[in-house]
């Protein structure tokens, strides 16, 4: 019989967690990471990987912004510029944001629901180790004849079919990312549904767990559709099918429909876990329970449901019949309702609380304000006749960076600051954290706010050079981007410092009376947390 079973002797309740399981500490050296089955190790790998990708994707963004600093071509040829745009987005979306959230899920979900680990630990490892393969393949295309894919992250045919040798590599790396996400999502669902401690009913689950559950359903539903879409690109290119060829009875726009059936839920995949994070952090620092926990759950579910029927709002200019445009406009506008419910509930959580403003709270607050601004511009985009002016302009770029950078990225950073002491057993440097916050919050606005003006004034996206009247705002945006980029080195510094245990020791609760099972285990969280299911007492979980 395997040692795991005999050694996992029973302990009473939550207080017994965490004592010496040294005989089962991590394996030594590289095998610990290569062969990992421990959710914390795998979570760490996801987070580190995501950070690396954030910097790579960010470097590409900086190439874009440098080229756009002034009119005229200074640094890169137009086709290289398009490669940068395409790869920047693919790397950020699939390499930085999604893996970061999976990393957080790995670390936190088992701890938050009182499970010993993720439900399918070996598959968990594979989900992670597919990613380095996928991104090695994708990034290697930068060095291929014809260069990296340059048709935009949306990969619209027929343009994407003009990609050089990189084409099949692009398709298969997307397949691999999908495979990884699907397996990761299956793991999350099974863990949440099957591994909760007995007393934690579904509606008692913390919001982060809830939003991840919904995210995982979205992932399982749409990643295979993306796989199907790119498979059709592949066969159109190499095997003579006519899916996207009018002469054969297909339609290039058909790809857009299938892509956005994936793509729109995908953007909620990138924001729902951040909603969850913020819903954990605000109550802690407002010292007040999350307002309207249940309606938050219903709101997130409605968002997820609606996200399946709004995809064509990305295609208002493709010449859809009128009824289609009307339907997709109304459905899209509706999403503002459940999202509003979330925003209002967060506000109500802060209302009459006793707030303090540590770094995680600061990032969450910036999230609240700036995501809402991004949501407003989203709503404006939903109005078809105005979208005819906005579409494919920098107004759209401004919209989605507002929801993605101070939205998703700030959500991730808030989560890292919030749980870092739990992971490492030490406090991060609060003062530096706040400096990092202010630099990020200011520069993110300097970077992306002017893009609204550029778009409205008529600057199209995905262009390497522009007419001179757009100069001012572009220069400002570029300065902001460089500032934002440099500020992120501070983040790395703070995290490394904390991981190297240079801060004060953290208590088990870390913050002042936070709610949630993760705060009942010591800091750092022991290698194996809940070998015995803990009891969900009134104080330990949300109710």
């Amino acid at each position: 019989m395997g040692s795991a079973v005999t050694d996992a002797h029973g302990h009473g309740q939550a207080q017994a967690i965490g004592h010496g399981h040294d005989e089962h500490g991590p394996a030594k050296g590289v095998r610990r990471w290569l062969y990992a089955t421990n959710h914390k190790d795998i979570g760490t790998m996801y987070l580190v990987f995501s950070c690396l990708m954030f910097f790579i994707g960010g470097s590409m963004a900086l190439v874009i912004r440098s080229e756009l600093f002034t009119p005229g071509l200074q640094f890169v040829a137009p086709n290289v510029f398009n490669q940068m745009t395409t790869m920047h987005a693919l790397v950020m979306v699939f390499g930085a944001v999604m893996p970061a959230f999976v990393g957080l899920a790995n670390w936190m979900i088992p701890m938050m629901i009182g499970a010993p680990d993720m439900a399918l630990p070996r598959m968990n490892n594979w989900s992670f180790w597919i990613l380095p393969v996928a991104f090695s393949i994708l990034l290697s295309t930068l060095f291929m004849p014809g260069g990296a894919p340059a048709g935009g992250w949306t990969m619209y045919p027929p343009l994407v079919l003009q990609t050089g040798d990189a084409f099949p590599f692009l398709i298969f790396s997307v397949h691999l990312m999908g495979l990884s996400s699907i397996m990761g999502a299956i793991n999350v669902i099974v863990t949440i549904i099957n591994m909760r401690t007995a007393e934690m009913s579904l509606l008692k689950m913390p919001m982060f767990v809830w939003t991840w559950l919904i995210t995982a359903y979205l992932l399982i539903a749409v990643m295979p559709v993306l796989a199907g879409a790119v498979t059709m690109l592949l066969t159109d290119q190499f095997f003579g099918t006519s899916f996207f060829l009018a002469a054969g009875g297909g339609d290039p726009v058909m790809f857009q429909h299938i892509f956005w059936f994936f793509g729109h839920p995908e953007v909620y995949i990138m924001i729902l876990p951040a909603f969850g994070v913020v819903s954990e952090i605000i109550p802690t620092f407002a010292r007040k329970p999350l307002f309207g926990h249940d309606s938050m759950v219903y709101a997130a579910s409605s968002i997820a449901f609606l996200s399946f029927i709004v995809w064509a709002h990305h295609m208002f200019t493709v010449g859809m019949p009128l009824t289609g445009q009307l339907f997709f406009m109304f459905a899209t506008m509706l999403i503002a309702v459940p999202t509003g419910v979330k925003v209002f509930n967060w506000t109500a959580t802060m209302w009459k609380g006793a707030m303090t403003f540590e770094t995680p709270m600061l990032f969450s607050l910036a999230f609240l304000f700036l995501f809402t601004i991004g949501g407003f511009s989203g709503l404006m985009l939903a109005v078809v006749s105005s979208d005819i002016q906005y579409h494919d302009s920098y107004f759209v770029v401004a919209h989605f960076h507002y929801v993605l950078v101070p939205g998703s990225i700030f959500g991730i950073m808030a989560a890292v600051y919030y749980w870092l002491p739990k992971w490492t057993g030490h406090m991060y440097n609060e003062r530096l954290g706040q400096v990092h916050f202010w630099l990020s919050a200011i520069f993110v606005n300097v970077t992306f706010f002017p893009m609204h003006f550029l778009g409205l004034a008529g600057m199209p996206r995905r262009i390497p050079d522009y007419s001179t009247q757009f100069t001012d705002f572009n220069s400002i945006a570029s300065i902001g981007a460089i500032g934002f980029g440099i500020s992120q080195f501070l983040f790395i510094y703070i995290v490394v410092q904390c991981v190297r245990k240079q801060g004060a020791k953290a208590s088990a609760a870390v913050w002042e009376n936070p709610k949630g099972l993760e705060w009942t285990v010591p800091s750092p969280a022991p290698y194996h947390t809940f070998n015995e299911p803990p009891h969900v007492t009134a104080g330990a979980a949300f109710s």
Binding site: A150, P158, G319
Partner: protein, 268 residues
């Protein structure tokens, strides 16, 4: 060039508001529908401002008033059905108020009946082709020479010295003022999009399909736009210029064009 930019950045910071407002907002344009679109855009924008005022106001208020350093005790409440219902219903009402005018404008935008003139516009990598239906006039329209020279990497030409840098073509589309011009869009290779902000038109040119759109310019003038769908390397270099002229001038222009076409034909 860099110095020029720094100067203009500084200039902007000092006298930002002095610049014409075309720089930061959607143009009102020169068609009835472009103005309507602009108004709709402003209307939705003002709604968002109003909501932002309330929501951000509440947030800021509680950030200021409900901070621990003021010695407040946190309240205990954690839900309220009434509140949830209210903040579900009110946004729905606001959205309805937006949706109705939005739908009305959209329906007008799709009503391309009874055009006075039809032009078939075909996108190519990377130029536009215009064919006047029923007339023997057709031509390509490409990036103007001055821009094309200056746009090369390290060309040594300062873009600021080029008139309408990247927004100028060798041969613009010419249409009469006041006429309802129908545009039939298609493409010869990949997807392009025909966008002229002042006419409030943006429509994709999809190979194998023809999409319709239209405009009726109320003012004469030169209106500039660009291809708005990524179409490869030179996507940034296929501008659109529409010259709206008085009807008589248009007829004269058409006649010369036909003559040149006929001369070319007989010369061959």
């Amino acid at each position: 060039m860099i110095r020029r930019t720094c100067l203009s950045v500084a200039g902007f910071l000092v006298a930002g508001s002095a610049r014409a407002d075309w720089a930061i907002n959607m143009p009102r344009g020169v068609t009835e529908l472009s103005a309507e679109t602009h108004d709709l855009h402003m209307q939705v924008f003002y709604w968002c401002c109003a909501i932002a005022f309330v929501v951000f106001g509440a947030m800021i208020w509680s950030l200021i008033r409900h901070r621990k350093s003021r010695g407040v005790e946190p309240a205990k409440f954690s839900h309220s059905m009434t509140a949830e219902v209210i903040w579900t219903i009110i946004p729905i009402i606001i959205l309805l108020l937006m949706a109705v005018p939005a739908a009305e404008t959209l329906i007008k935008l799709e009503d391309g009946r009874k055009p006075d003139l039809t032009v078939v516009v075909t996108g190519y990598q990377w130029k536009w082709h215009y064919a006047y239906q029923g007339e023997d006039v057709a031509f390509y329209s490409t990036l103007a020479r001055a821009s094309a020279d200056a746009r090369r990497k390290n060309s040594g030409i300062d873009p600021f010295t080029v008139d309408n840098y990247l927004l100028d073509v060798d041969k613009p589309l010419v249409v009469p003022k006041g006429a309802k011009v129908r545009i039939l869009l298609t493409s010869n290779d990949v997807i392009h999009a025909w966008w002229v902000p002042d006419l409030a038109i943006k429509k994709d040119a999809v190979p194998g399909f023809i999409h319709e759109t239209f405009f009726r310019a109320a003012e004469a003038g030169v209106f500039r736009g660009q291809c708005a769908e990524l179409c490869g390397m030179d996507h940034g270099y296929m501008p659109i210029v529409v010259e709206v002229v008085e009807p008589e001038a248009y007829q004269a222009w058409l006649a010369t064009e036909k003559n040149t076409a006929a001369e070319l034909a007989s010369a061959n």
